[in-house]
């Protein structure tokens, strides 16, 4: 699937700004983020802690706590602006049309109800099935997500399941109403790698079966490479790069993306020494002026310190927000030469 395809997107986020009003000041967690999600594709959102990737997904479902406020922007889902819906209309969207799974299923599942009760609650609420029918569907869903002995497990409590099984149960719950979009917020971060492999495979297989779109939020470039069709790279509340997954990994066009890719140790490549992006992630209360990455960027000039670079198309379907892509490209060329030599 190419970026900016001719199809109409199923979800469109336009210039979203979500701010948090804390005692210490305003945290501009998401500050002008735009993207779209097409039917059946997986959009990866990658970035480090505090870059705004999770807040973006919570904003889509309007699940922010009382300190967070969506300042401006539009979230168009099937022609409706979700930000203009009433709370009761929104409830019909949540779980039914757009479902979400979280990093730690233990906190997302209610410990005093059985797995079955929690899946059935969503089914009865959204699909108006009877209790018996809902239970049957719940068992079917548990079987589909690969939970052994679903007739027995349906009556178990969350704490009786292992971490991997709980995440499967969460997925079963999220998919029980056949949503068009599944938002997965770091769904495998708390899991062991062998279990992560199971869950990722399951998600790919279910996506094929149900044809839903997935928004995959993660800090792990490996998971991104494996799962996504298109990728959004976020830094300090902004999208810094946006491209198809192959293009992004082949020709990164933002110094942050490039730095990130070079700083991870890899199984398939041997580095004598890792590249390290200098400095620390800026404090969300005091993001730098101009390009927010300039404090850590080795290509930064005075222009970067004063003017914010816009997110523009630099090659077909490839967006980047950087003033000095030429400088980055020559550095990459030197690096590639060194590698091949």
């Amino acid at each position: 699937m190419s970026v900016l395809s001719e199809k109409t997107p199923i979800l469109q986020v336009k210039d979203l700004r979500t701010y948090f009003y804390t005692e210490d000041g305003v945290v501009k967690a998401v500050d002008g983020v735009s993207f779209e999600v097409y039917e059946g594709e997986t959009l990866g959102i990658v970035g480090e802690s505090g870059c705004g990737k999770s807040v973006t997904s919570l904003s889509i479902l309007r699940l922010l706590d009382e300190k967070g406020r969506i300042e401006s922007g539009e979230i168009i889902y099937k022609g409706k602006n979700l930000l203009e819906l009433s709370e009761s209309e929104m409830r019909k969207i949540r779980g039914n049309e757009i479902a979400m799974i979280f990093q730690e299923p233990m906190t997302a599942l209610n410990p005093v109800y059985t797995i079955g009760d929690q899946i059935m609650e969503a089914i009865i609420l959204h699909q108006g099935l009877s209790k018996d029918e809902a239970r049957k569907l719940a068992i079917d869903m548990l079987r589909k997500v690969g939970i052994p002995e679903p007739e027995k497990r349906v009556d178990e409590y969350p704490h009786e399941l292992s971490g991997g099984m709980r995440q499967r149960a969460m997925i079963a719950m999220a998919l029980s109403c056949n949503p068009s979009i599944l938002i997965a917020d770091e769904p495998t971060t708390a899991l062991d790698v062998t279990i992560q492999a199971q869950i990722l495979e399951l998600m790919q297989q279910l996506q094929k079966e149900y044809g839903m779109s997935i928004i995959m939020i993660t800090h792990d470039l490996g998971v991104i490479a494996e799962m996504s069709d298109r990728v959004l790279v976020m830094y300090a509340g902004k999208v810094v790069e946006h491209a198809s997954v192959r293009e992004l990994f082949k020709n990164p066009k933002h110094p942050y993306t490039w730095g990130l890719m070079n700083s991870i140790p890899r199984l398939d490549i041997e580095y004598e020494r890792l590249y390290a992006i200098p400095g620390t992630v800026p404090d969300a209360l005091h993001f730098p002026e101009g390009c927010r990455f300039h404090t850590r960027c080795e290509f930064a000039t005075d222009k970067c310190r004063s003017e914010e670079p816009p997110l523009v198309e630099v090659s077909p379907g490839h967006l980047s927000a950087c003033w000095h892509i030429d400088r980055l490209e020559s550095a990459v060329a030197v690096q590639r030469k060194g590698e091949s030599a």
């Binding site: 490479a225 990130l260 700083s263 140790p265 890899r266």
Partner: protein, 391 residues
């Protein structure tokens, strides 16, 4: 990071290390079961190298680190530092006598003099001490371990230090950085004056890439990466020989993680450190280690020089673990082994080979007999009856 393995005596030897935690229940807090976190582990660490210890949650890798530093007393087994048995200093005082009896005295009593040569190196040394220095007097032998116990424990603390995983919980929020790092100086009386202490703290702060002025600040004023640097400074101010890094970079963001990994490599060169690097992340382990030990459910299943392990893993678990890691390259297509099921509970590990219920190549013998950790190729030890079949 030397690729060659020294053949001399190891800096640290671990022999049949066992750590079981009791599970208590009921009003009388009776022990109802044991968590077999570490269940008979042997390995050596040589001076100047980095041994990577990798495995999934609950495999016992962290417990090993904690036990080596005396934070948990071992249930069984011995630990040698430069050939000296340090187990008595890891155990509480009242357990030392029975440990020494079990490990040495009972064996030595049944020993003919000519059998001494056949003992493993660690035991041979103590057999000589027992028969020659103490003339076979068990009481004198035991007393020699109990004398100056506190001092010896303290000396050991200076040789072995630890860097923790969580940069947030590993620093006392109510202490200034200067005191967090300087506490070790006070405890071991390394500075003769306030000025000297201050200078030591300032020096080590600079070595880990922070400003000396930070000594006056509190932990909450720092980011995760900076806190981890402070944790490293706290460990290094004692000038240790061996540093246990327990998931030291796991909680950090990608861009910060590489900074800390580079720093640890630089410090290793500068201070001639030996690392035991514990992590669940095989890519990090591959980057930093010289040799790698893979753990599963309280056991080492494979231990080998890095190159050998990553070029040709021999244990089916190692193979599956490697294939499970997503490669950050969309063009990279690989055959993937997806393991069935979950990691079993360490309270009731499976019979025979602990990996057999999830193993793609398990056969009947695997559920009956436990495969020993054997050298299959030079320097590469594997605990599998069918080593190499999957690679």
């Amino acid at each position: 990071m030397s690729q060659t393995i020294q053949k001399n005596t190891p800096m640290l030897s671990v022999r049949n290390l066992v750590k079981h935690f009791p599970i208590r229940a009921g009003i009388f807090k009776r022990i109802v079961a044991w968590v077999k976190a570490v269940d008979g582990v042997d390995f050596d660490i040589y001076e100047g190298e980095t041994l990577g210890l990798v495995g999934e949650s609950g495999c016992g890798k962290t417990t090993i680190g904690m036990t080596l530093l005396g934070l948990y007393p071992p249930t069984d087994g011995s630990v040698y530092f430069n050939g000296e048995d340090i187990t008595p200093y890891l155990l509480p005082g009242w357990k030392v006598r029975s440990y020494l009896k079990r490990t040495y005295i009972e064996k030595f009593k049944q020993l003919n003099h000519d059998e001494m040569e056949e003992l493993p190196d660690e035991l041979k040394h103590y057999a000589e001490v027992y028969f020659n220095d103490h003339k076979g007097d068990a009481g004198r032998f035991i007393r020699s371990f109990m004398e100056n116990r506190k001092e010896k424990q303290k000396a050991l603390r200076r040789k072995m230090q630890i860097v923790f995983q969580d940069p947030y919980s590993s620093l006392n929020p109510r202490m200034r950085i200067g005191n967090i790092i300087g506490e070790a100086v006070d405890v071991h009386r390394l500075a003769s004056s306030k000025e000297e202490r201050q200078k030591m703290v300032a020096d080590i702060l600079q070595k880990v890439g922070l400003y000396p002025e930070y000594a006056m600040r509190y932990p909450h004023e720092f980011s995760g990466g900076q806190r981890q640097r402070i944790g490293i400074a706290r460990a290094l101010i004692l000038n240790p020989k061996l540093v246990v890094a327990d998931e030291a970079v796991s909680a950090l963001d990608v861009s910060i993680r590489s900074q800390i990994l580079n720093l640890m490599e630089d410090l290793q060169k500068e201070f001639q450190l030996t690392y035991l690097f514990i992590s669940h992340d095989l890519s990090v382990i591959k980057h930093i280690s010289d040799r790698v030990a893979v753990m599963y459910l309280g056991k080492i299943v494979e231990i080998a020089p890095k190159k050998k392990l990553f070029e040709r893993p021999l244990h089916p678990y190692t193979v599956s673990l490697m294939s499970a890691i997503p490669i950050p390259d969309p063009e990279h297509k690989k055959k993937r082994v997806i393991l069935k099921g979950d990691v079993p509970s360490p309270i009731n590990p499976p019979s025979g080979c602990r990996f057999h219920p999830r193993c793609p190549i398990a056969r009947e013998i695997c559920s009956r007999e436990e495969p020993p950790l054997q050298e299959v190729e030079e320097g590469q030890k594997v605990a599998c009856f069918f080593a190499g079949e999957m690679s």
